[in-house]
Subunit: 193 residues, 2 copies
């Protein structure tokens, strides 16, 4: 028997992705987003939806470019932190000691230490309500060389991506529970004070 | 060191969702889709992208409504089958002995046996290329009563959703590898012949 829990932005699985962009001064920034997904095969394209209040929103509106770095489970703490603070006042790369690498195909940085990276050029922008959807053509996919299979394709278990459960605000991996969202990264945030 | 594997519709994790719709004769149909994701919080909204060649595309263009039923791992075989055949010639509910239940808020059916269901009304349609993106406002979320937590929120591990790895064409769960995409459902398809 099904029970209605109302009208909510809730479906499983939702991803945990880290969206990289340069601000108007060229400073690299990264924020965590779960509202997105592949939306086309030809051209290959992926969406991310952001609130206008985010610093990243304004950067992408300017540059029309972003990357998605897929954090592996071992970077859950850093990925959570990227969602806890704004790039307007914090250099999130410096605070996490992670490395911003300039993408090859677009004007945006990615997180060098994360195993999977997508480089995107904005081809559509859709105003939906609280969120603006950016549809980005995927110009390149990059993978850590050591985890590519013999077929040149990355194995899911080696990427070890993170899933987000909205409402209960938990993270999961492809091998079970990881931890609390909006909490794991607080240890990094506290160091800022 | 990162290696470029080119411009591909590939990012982890991508979901395995079963999209329910009625055709113009009111016949329930369901197809599997991985190109989608949440795209807005207010109103809550989710995208799915479909090729025009699919039977479901035409149904949704007509009804402006769809459901997403989230299969749990134990229904991986049925979910795979839903992507192997067209509703134009096959009654996929009958062949799998799964139950089409009429949604409460929109004119579309969902898969009764799957643990999580989203009812959506189309609010935007975006032509991207090979795929048309439907943006659906989420009018209701339904969960199997027995797996709701005390907080009224479903636990990810109880829903046990399926992830799709494009390119390598494999399915994974929140507890590891499940099986080959475009293969698991063949045992059902063979029975049709």
């Amino acid at each position: 028997m099904k029970k209605s829990i109302g009208s909510k932005a809730l479906i499983y699985p939702s991803p945990v992705w880290c969206v990289g962009s340069y601000d108007t001064n060229g400073k690299p920034n990264v924020m965590t987003a779960s509202w997105g997904g592949i939306c086309c095969s030809k051209p290959p394209a992926v969406t991310i939806s952001l609130r206008k209040a985010t610093y990243t929103y304004h950067s992408i509106m300017e540059t029309k470019a972003y990357t998605i770095s897929v954090p592996s489970k071992k970077y859950a703490r850093e990925a959570d932190f990227f969602g806890l603070t704004s790039g307007k006042k914090t250099d999130k790369f410096r605070e996490t000691s992670l490395t911003p690498t300039r993408a090859d195909k677009v004007h945006a940085p990615y997180v060098e230490e994360f195993p999977m990276v997508i480089e995107c050029k904005v081809i559509h922008t859709v105003e939906i309500g609280s969120h603006t959807q950016f549809i980005g053509e995927i110009l390149d996919v990059k993978i850590d060389e050591e985890i590519l299979g013999e077929d040149g394709i990355p194995e899911m278990l080696n990427i070890s991506p993170i899933l987000y459960a909205a409402e209960s605000r938990n993270y999961y991996g492809v091998d079970g529970y990881i931890g609390n969202a909006y909490n794991l990264g607080k240890s990094i945030k506290r160091q800022l004070k």
